[in-house]
């Protein structure tokens, strides 16, 4: 490693109508290091990377980009790729219906004359996979691979273009602990081969583990650059710089803890997915009491989301048998509509995919699941709608200029609050939260936790599905660990430790 910067971004300012997304940001990456970029959502990380990669072309921002000793004026992604900058986004850019090798060389095909040389392509693709230590059949279609493997294929694709600076935007957000560890090891390995990495991440533990240098952004400004090798980086320090205040308690304290009668009871619940052609839930039994937070822990793909969906009216059309009762009476939910009217609400894991209607505004999203509340004889009262939406805007602290704002314009944390608001408006007894804090920043996380705490204090029951062990341990009253479609164990909060949960989760 040497000390010459491979990349310098100087006094970058980028404005959107009405907002200064980046304000005089300077960012310097040394050759051969792993440089982490952290900050709350909306701090400007993604915007900065879009400026760097040419998504916002030269002229749409002010300031200088110096890469490899030369001032660069990128007019598009093609230009930045040419000099050796590759970005891997959270939403992967692979074509599901194409094979692994087709994907790796998509856009820079190996040609003989003007015809693709498939033999050479397959050979070179194999070499690339070896570099990322991935062992899959090259002819497999990408849609058949898990998200962890896809991530590695993206990296292989970047390496095949002779990348000098690799930028990863939240690469581990959707990965389980094993896959994450794997990816971090790969980044270390690439470092020894001279690839410089910029890593954007919300997972501070991961940042501390891997970073040589950390730059913190807040409100579109560079707050500081810390050298991890000199021991300047710790979780508290990072959080302090990110939020501009110290958060001592990540999890809010509960005033009262009054656990009441059984609200939901699920017995011998089995589900078979006709699309996958296999059984996905086997003999699941569990219950939730009034006023308690039940944590559903487990690895990705263990069946937690499927369990929630199958209970919540089964929109995916699994074949189900088993029994549900709510507050003592037996129920059969044929559609989410039935579950909702029985007092169940489900905040989905994938806000953008199946949670919110991004092209509609805040108020429409908040009221959509319970329009009858603001309608008289099926005619919607627009004014009542605005009033309701404003109430949730205040009580959930949704940061938006007004409730007529289109939801896709909000930051991740605020979108999540809209999602929570939508489900609170159906006035549920049981709230299912699927990965409620995924991809949102520390400040917003704390707010979501506070809301959860208030709700159970008011007597609501919550099922929280989460892959973050600290969150499970910090928030739950009781924990079920799901593994391979079964309940692998139940833990009282006082007995639960990270190790015990992981042991059950990986115990197939």
């Amino acid at each position: 490693m040497n000390n010459t910067p491979i990349l310098e971004m100087k006094k970058i300012t980028k404005e959107f109508p009405g907002v200064k997304a980046l304000n005089n940001v300077s960012f310097q990456v040394k050759e051969g290091e792993i440089h982490c970029l952290v900050g709350e959502n909306g701090a400007g990380k993604s915007t900065l990377m879009k400026v760097l990669s040419g998504v916002y072309p030269h002229g749409e921002y002010t300031g200088d980009i110096i890469f490899g000793g030369k001032t660069q004026n990128f007019r598009g992604i093609g230009d930045s790729e040419k000099v050796g900058i590759a970005i891997i986004y959270q939403e992967l850019a692979l074509i599901p219906e194409m094979t692994v090798y087709e994907n790796i060389f998509l856009g820079h095909e190996i040609k003989k004359g003007s015809i693709i040389d498939w033999n050479e392509t397959i050979k070179r693709a194999g070499e690339m996979l070896k570099k990322v230590k991935l062992n899959v059949n090259l002819a497999e279609k990408v849609k058949d691979l898990g998200v962890g493997k896809r991530q590695l294929i993206e990296i292989a694709k970047a390496l095949s273009k002779d990348v000098k600076l690799l930028i990863l935007d939240e690469p581990t957000a959707a990965l389980n602990e094993d896959d994450s560890e794997n990816l971090l090891n790969l980044l270390r390995d690439l470092k020894t081969h001279g690839v410089t990495c910029v890593l954007i991440s919300h997972k501070l533990k991961e940042v501390i583990k891997i970073a040589d240098t950390v730059t913190v952004l807040r409100d579109g400004q560079t707050i500081c650059t810390l050298d991890a090798r000199k021991g300047e980086v710790s979780e508290n320090v990072l959080i302090k710089h990110m939020v501009g205040r110290e958060i001592n308690n990540i999890y809010p304290k509960r005033e009262t803890r009054q656990i009441g009668e059984v609200v939901l009871n699920v017995e011998n619940w089995n589900a078979y997915d006709p699309n996958l052609g296999r059984s996905i839930l086997k003999d699941v039994s569990f219950h939730v009491n009034k006023g308690e937070i039940v944590g559903l822990a487990g690895l990705m793909g263990s069946g937690r989301t499927e369990l929630a969906l199958s209970i919540f009216g089964n929109p995916a059309g699994y074949h189900i048998n088993g029994e549900i009762s709510m507050l003592g009476s037996k129920k059969r939910f044929r559609h989410p509509e039935d579950a909702i009217s029985a007092g169940v609400a489900y905040v989905t894991e994938d806000r953008k995919g199946n949670g919110l209607i991004l092209i509609q505004d805040v108020k429409q999203n908040i009221t959509i699941a319970n329009l009858k509340e603001i309608a008289i004889r099926s005619i919607v009262n627009d004014n009542a709608e605005v009033k309701v939406a404003n109430e949730y805007k205040v009580s959930l602290n949704i940061k938006t200029p007004n409730v007529e704002q289109i939801v896709s314009n909000l930051s991740g944390g605020n979108q999540q609050k809209v999602s929570v608001g939508k489900w609170l408006f159906v006035k549920p007894n049981l709230l299912i939260l699927d990965e409620p804090t995924r991809g949102i920043d520390v400040g917003a996380k704390y707010e979501i936790y506070t809301i959860m705490t208030k709700l159970v204090e008011q007597g609501m029951s919550i099922i929280m599905i989460s892959s973050e062990l600290s969150e499970i341990l910090g928030m739950s009253d009781r924990i079920y660990v799901v593994s391979a479609g079964k309940i692998a164990g139940e833990l009282a909060i006082l007995d639960a430790t990270q190790e015990k949960i992981m042991q059950l989760a990986t115990n197939y």
Binding site: T348, I357, Q360, S378, I379, N383
Partner: protein, 394 residues
């Protein structure tokens, strides 16, 4: 804030919506000048509405179909076929008109439900399912008119749908030559509009919501009132409101109300915005699909009858290209091909743009080949404008 700033802000916020009205105004002005006033004459405007009311009706139904991310190519020949069915019901089965009309509408609903079954239950893309319908109904028209060729409809009531005018109140000596009932309806419409706008403003103020600055509010009211007044005066100067115009107005008012004010309308737009999220919000997406295609089928039946009534006969060629005219009207009217966005009123403006082009160019004696090209160019320009303003808003 000064008056001009207010006006600018209002225009900028609503540039997409107002853009269409401005475009329609420009097109109409150009034709009025090039035809030395013939285009804007009462007679021409009335004819324009009567000749093309069926496309407007189809465009209204198509709006909702496209909003829920589907398309219906079968409406053209289905409309032609249902027009023929109505004719046969009256001429060959001797059904009275007041049975033939509902029968046709019900058959239309059934045809729509069949499409919905294929789309919602069998998961066949609407493009394919309705393309099959397009072929089937094309054949069906030929089958039912095979023996007789064109079926002439003698029923006067039925033919009034496409050719007749609402009756006038008895002449009392004032305003001779002017259709007084039309005038009265126009005045009532203006009064109702003003009252409802004032009422809605008061309600908003009661909730402490932001309202338009008072001078903007007044200007808006004066402008829309003048528009309705002008159109009323034009129509009253000829033979008054035609039945076709009444039917189109009713369809637009009802559909606009359902789309913007009711729970059903909200559910339709939610399904279009994100079907998975809608399903998980407790909205039955299949049910919405059935309702939207069913309504499209019913409006198709209505369109078929308007056309047959206009010609006073059912012909073998009825239905050709109706679906594409209707789809073009919705896109010109700002409906998003990606679903979830679009207004019924926009589609009507889109239909008016298309129809004004045809009528204006006909009056100018421009050949049909150039007419097609001009309409294509306007369609492309409208969508480009729409996309450009949409991107700017983000």
């Amino acid at each position: 804030m000064s008056f001009l700033q207010n006006a600018r802000k209002l225009l900028e916020q609503n540039i997409r919506e107002y853009g269409m009205y401005i475009a329609l105004f420009v097109i109409m002005t150009i034709f009025t000048i090039t035809t030395k006033g013939t285009f804007i004459s009462s007679r021409n405007i009335v004819n324009l509405v009567n000749q093309t009311g069926y496309i407007a009706v189809l465009a209204v139904g198509m709006t909702l179909v496209i909003v829920i991310r589907h398309i219906d190519l079968s409406v053209g020949f289905l409309g032609g076929f249902l027009g023929a069915v109505a004719a046969i019901a009256m001429v060959q089965w001797h059904l009275p008109v007041y049975l033939a009309i509902p029968l046709t509408l019900i058959l239309g609903i059934l045809a729509g439900l069949i499409i919905a079954f294929l789309v919602a239950q069998m998961k066949i893309p609407a493009f394919v399912a309705t393309l099959a319908g397009w072929l089937i109904y094309r054949g069906a028209i030929l089958v039912v008119t095979e023996k007789t060729g064109t079926i002439v409809i003698p029923d006067k009531t039925f033919n009034a749908l496409g050719n007749g005018f609402i009756p006038d109140i008895p002449d009392i000596g004032i305003l001779p030559g002017v259709h007084k009932l039309t005038l009265i309806i126009g005045v009532i419409a203006i009064i109702l509009l003003i009252l409802s706008e004032i009422n809605s403003r008061k309600k908003k103020q009661a909730y402490n919501f932001e309202v338009l600055p008072i001078e903007m509010f007044v200007i808006k009211l004066v402008f829309t009132s003048a528009l309705i007044g002008g159109i009323t005066w034009l129509l009253a100067g000829y033979q008054g409101l035609s039945w076709t115009a009444v039917i189109v107005l009713m369809v637009v008012l009802i559909y606009n109300f359902v789309a913007t004010q009711t729970v059903l309308g909200r559910h339709i737009y939610a399904v279009g915005g994100n079907p998975e999220a809608a399903e998980l919000s407790g909205i039955n997406v299949k049910k919405i699909t059935y309702i939207v295609f069913g309504s499209m089928g019913m409006l198709t039946g209505l369109a078929g009858m308007l056309f047959a009534s206009r010609l006073q006969s059912a012909t073998t060629t009825a239905g050709q290209l109706w679906e594409l005219d209707a789809i073009a009207a919705t896109f010109i009217g700002g409906v998003s091909p990606a679903g979830g966005i679009g207004k019924v009123t926009g589609s009507i403006i889109g239909a008016l743009v298309m129809l004004s082009l045809t009528s204006g160019m006909n009056l100018m004696g421009i050949g049909i080949s150039y007419q097609y090209m001009a309409r294509g160019a306007v369609l492309a320009a409208a969508v480009i404008f729409d996309v450009a303003t949409r991107n700017r808003a983000h």
